[in-house]
């Protein structure tokens, strides 16, 4: 939800800004965009049921997940001069750090899971396991979590329809996305 707000909010704000200022949308050339497509498709593969259950162990999924993050970090580095990309990259780095030091998945505390899944039947999740089939989150006690402050520990207010946990890194990614899309109305520089 945080990420959706960053993308849609930024796109809307950038477009309105261009209209108000009567500017054409800026020409943007992203370098190595094929890397993002590759990482996205690989994640689609490793988090899909059929492939995951048929061929991949949890360790393999964790390894590939981390590998996709490395690819994305490289993309961010290659495009760091574009507005907001460095912030996106910083958020990604924070997520990457906490994921790597906790075994390849994003840690989430049992307390947070209980708040998110108040009606979940007993035994539907376990400490030490991933939170569901398609999740990047793994349930770990806060005391056993390295860099716990970077984990998925924030929860959207109760009036949001979807219960979602997010990290500081996610907030920076959302802000970076907003900044990037806001900048499409910047004056073209040659």
């Amino acid at each position: 939800m945080v990420l959706v707000v960053g993308i849609l909010g930024g796109l809307t704000a950038g477009w309105i800004r261009a209209k108000v200022l009567k500017r054409p949308l800026r020409t943007i050339r992203l370098r190595c965009w094929g890397l993002v497509l590759t990482a996205f498709l690989l994640q689609l593969l490793i988090f899909s049921t059929a492939v995951r259950s048929a061929f991949l162990s949890e360790k393999a999924i964790a390894f590939l997940f981390v590998a996709t993050q490395v690819v994305l970090i490289f993309f961010a580095w290659m495009n760091r001069k574009e507005p907001g990309i460095w912030l996106l990259g910083l958020g990604l780095m924070l997520n990457f750090l906490v994921i790597v030091v906790n075994g390849g998945f994003m840690p989430i505390s049992p307390e947070t899971v209980r708040v998110l899944n108040q009606n979940a039947p007993a035994g539907s999740w376990q400490i030490g396991n991933r939170l569901g089939k398609y999740s990047k989150d793994i349930v770990i006690e806060t005391s056993n979590t390295h860099l716990w402050f970077l984990s998925d520990r924030f929860i959207l207010p109760g009036w949001f329809t979807a219960p979602i946990a997010f990290s500081i890194g996610d907030v920076l990614i959302a802000l970076g996305a907003f900044w990037f899309f806001w900048s499409i109305a910047d004056v073209e520089t040659t």
Binding site: L30, Q43, S135
Partner: protein, 47 residues
Amino acid sequence: MKSLSSPLTTLITKFDSQTIRLIVVIVTLVMFVISAGAPQAGGGIGH
């Protein structure tokens, strides 16, 4: 075939290269954000 390709050609020619480039940039950034922050959102599509 001709009747099918004709509207398609018309549609494509309406977009100039800058528009296509902008669409590629937006799609790339959306994929980047999903992959960086919520990969299960992409992986869960269709389930």
